[in-house]
């Protein structure tokens, strides 16, 4: 029973649902389910955030011919906990003429936006919290709320540096949302539905990245570039460019509020990577080659959660690789890239994808 749980979580969730609706009244059952799901996600958020911060530091260290943190805990696994404790002890420096309500509200908005997006990720069969028919549309809409948090942080800090950083970041995120949405639209056209479980189901005969040959590949590249810009990372991180304007929009935040921004950035990276795997790389589906039955059987042996996490880890590694190799783009070059290069490519790509999907010319 335990071994088959790993492959399909739906019997487990059904059993819990039955148990709860038998013992409590329907209202209470729903509330308890919501609380359980919320707690699981909070735990997941915290653990993955901790792990990602450490992973970034070790990946960047290996690229730079050095070791990275490896003293606190075995191979440095407890390093982020030590950092978190340090941040908790720091003094929350109050700003004199800052708008106090907005100043305190801004980190929460950023965290809430990324939290709402995590709820829609399909981790494995049966481990899918929010699964309605406008899945991907919901995700894009909800992740746009993060911009509000950044702009509020910059404005309410009452500091020139923060304001410049927030304005730059706001312009950048709003422009790149277009490219993200259009490149994901290519896959929606190919698979015929916005619901995330349907998109995964349509990839059972092969992942969209090679079934949709050229246009899907172009859409994948554009999505990678646009989403790195969305999360303020990599070559597009001038909102928090350390060598130009101290720390950009979160200059005036210290202690646990800074930890929120920091954590939200890494979780946004996780969200962006998981949607790349869901739409382009087949989500939790294993790697099958048509006709090689023994090979497919072996691939089925690995649980879907592991497939999903492995693919996400690969995309996260790509995003980190970008950051540590390339210099930063200037703000006007960044906007030129979006409006003059990515957007036209995206629009032409959608035309091609629509044509291919109509003529059934994909694999």
């Amino acid at each position: 029973m335990l071994t088959s749980i790993i492959y399909d979580f739906s019997p487990l969730t059904h059993r819990i649902d039955q148990f709860l609706s038998e013992t409590f009244s329907p209202g209470w059952a729903v509330t308890m389910e919501l609380v359980i799901v919320g707690l699981v996600f909070l735990l997941f958020y915290a653990v993955v955030g901790l792990f990602l911060v450490l992973a970034e530091r070790r990946v960047c260290a290996f690229i730079q011919n050095r070791l990275g943190p490896n003293r606190v805990g075995p191979e440095g696994l407890l390093q982020t906990i030590a950092d978190l404790l340090k941040l908790l002890f720091k003094e929350l420096i109050p700003i004199k003429r800052a708008d106090k309500f907005l100043y305190n509200l801004a980190p929460f908005i950023v965290i809430i936006a990324s939290f709402m997006a995590i709820a829609a990720i399909p981790f494995a069969k049966g481990l899918h919290a929010i699964d309605f028919n406008i899945g991907i549309f919901y995700v894009i809409a909800v992740s746009s709320l993060g911009v509000v948090g950044i702009l509020l942080a910059g404005w309410s800090s009452n500091s020139k540096y923060s304001l410049i950083g927030a304005m730059r970041s706001g312009a950048q995120i709003i422009s790149y949302e277009l490219s993200v949405a259009l490149s994901l639209l290519a896959i929606v056209v190919l698979s015929g539905s916005m619901q995330l479980s349907e998109v995964i189901a349509s990839q059972e005969s092969g992942w969209w990245i090679w079934r949709g040959h050229l246009p899907a590949f172009i859409a994948f590249l554009v999505y990678l570039i646009a989403s790195t810009a969305e999360i303020n990372r990599g070559p597009f991180d001038l909102a928090e460019a350390e060598s130009e304007l101290t720390a950009g929009f979160h200059t005036e935040y210290s202690g646990i509020k800074f930890a929120f921004f920091f954590l939200a950035e890494y979780m946004n990276m996780f969200i962006v990577a998981s949607f790349a795997t869901t739409m382009f790389l087949g989500g939790w589906l294993p790697f099958h080659i048509d006709g090689w039955y023994a090979f497919n059987h072996m691939m089925d042996f690995i649980p879907p959660v592991v497939w999903y996490l492995g693919k996400t880890a690969f995309i996260i590694y790509l995003i980190m690789w970008f950051k540590w190799t390339f210099p930063r783009l200037r703000i006007d070059q960044l906007l030129t890239l979006e409006w003059k290069y990515l957007l036209p490519i995206n629009l032409v790509n959608i035309l091609i994808v629509a044509f291919i999907s109509w003529k059934n010319w994909h694999f």
């Binding site: 960047c60 690229i63 001038l238 101290t246 190799t325 390339f326 210099p327 783009l329």
Partner: protein, 374 residues
């Protein structure tokens, strides 16, 4: 509205001032830039130096000539040997002392190694300023090999006080030649990687091409020497125009460029690294045997008069001007430092550009702040 009224309204309502203050990750030292901005565009830039003024020239007035050497190390600490060589050559020319051939060869090899080390650090910091954070580690990793050569012979990695009036403090380690040849072989393989990582990168080229164009007339008028001046077409290499030490015995080219933008300054420095390796290869196998110093008196007294000596450091022309009244201390010593002249072109180059361009320009000019303030 007249132009004057518009100007006043602009200055009061739209222009704002930011201090890229003394503690800033990208000004490479303690230097304050008062930057006046309109939106994202820089309108005026006022540099304020003097935060690390230590009074070196005044301290030299109570030191004998061998004791001045340890202070000159600390001016432009990235080309310490070349600074020492400047003062030593000035004193030797004043006393009309001829140094042995071995000393000349070793001094030139050390100066060129120092030039490569300084350019490696410049490349590391320039990449880091622009956001490519791995270049910092690659540049410093390769620089460690040169610092190992120095540590074996002199005992210290950065500030050596090794080249003194009369020759050298002591002889170099027997392993010096072997290690230098190994380093040349190693670095010839690594320098093309620098090109792959940064020079050919489209993002880097967009950040530096056409940014901060310095015309040749401006370079001559402001006295911008060194690689920054050579990138604008100003042919000012002291090693070619007024050769000293072993430079008359070697063949090398002076690399010029005519664009004058940040990318040209970058290219000139990378090519200078190749030329320095050529110079070292020509000298390292042929170091003549002999004394490592000439016979000097215990107490050096320069005859009355004024003496000037110029050398080419990694950043430009360093001039040493000694006024002596016959005592064992100099009456006045003045250093014409390259970074002091290079700093004041920043206003002209950075105005009209964006903040990000300011960082690219100051990185490509390669300023070392203690040299500005002495």
């Amino acid at each position: 509205m007249t132009e004057e009224v518009k100007e006043i309204m602009f200055r009061e309502h739209e222009e704002y001032m930011i201090n890229m203050g003394p503690q800033h990750p990208s000004t490479h030292g303690v230097l304050r830039f008062e930057v006046y901005l309109k939106g994202e565009v820089v309108t005026k830039l006022v540099p304020h130096c003097g935060y690390i003024h230590r009074g070196i020239e005044k301290m030299c007035e109570k030191d004998t000539y061998p004791q001045i050497i340890h202070l000159t190390d600390r001016m432009d600490y990235l080309s310490a040997h070349i600074n020492n060589e400047a003062v030593s050559l000035c004193v030797e020319n004043a006393l009309q002392v001829e140094v042995p051939e071995r000393v000349k060869y070793i001094r030139t090899i050390l100066a060129e190694l120092n030039r490569i080390a300084s350019h490696q650090l410049w490349w590391a910091a320039f990449g880091m300023d622009l956001g490519a954070l791995t270049t910092f580690f690659y540049g410093l990793r390769d620089r460690e090999k040169i610092l190992d050569i120095f540590e074996e012979s002199f005992g210290s990695r950065l500030l050596h006080s090794f080249i003194t009036p009369g020759g050298l403090m002591h002889d170099v380690h027997p392993n010096f030649q072997k290690r230098t040849k190994e380093f040349i072989k190693y670095f010839r393989k690594k320098l093309p990687e620098y090109d792959q990582l940064l020079t050919g990168n489209v993002i880097f080229q967009n950040r530096t091409k056409g940014i901060g164009i310095l015309s040749k007339e401006d370079a001559i008028a402001y006295g911008i020497t060194g690689p920054s001046g050579r990138a604008s077409g100003f042919s000012c290499d002291i090693r070619k125009k007024y050769p000293y030490s072993a430079y008359p015995f070697v063949q090398f080219e002076e690399k010029l460029s005519h664009e004058g933008d940040s990318f040209a300054r970058y290219q000139v420095r990378i090519e200078e690294m190749w030329e320095s390796m050529k110079i070292i290869e020509q000298l390292v196998d042929n170091i003549p045997e002999g004394d490592y110093t000439a016979k000097m008196k215990a107490v050096l007294r320069l005859p009355e008069g004024e003496y000037y000596q110029r050398v080419e450091t990694a950043r430009g022309e360093l001039g040493v001007y000694i006024v002596s009244t016959g005592e064992k201390f100099p009456y006045r010593i003045k250093f014409r430092t390259p970074n002091f002249s290079n700093l004041f072109i920043m206003n002209k180059l950075a105005s009209g550009g964006k903040i990000a361009d300011l960082i690219a320009i100051s990185g490509s000019l390669d300023l070392v702040i203690p040299d500005i303030d002495r």
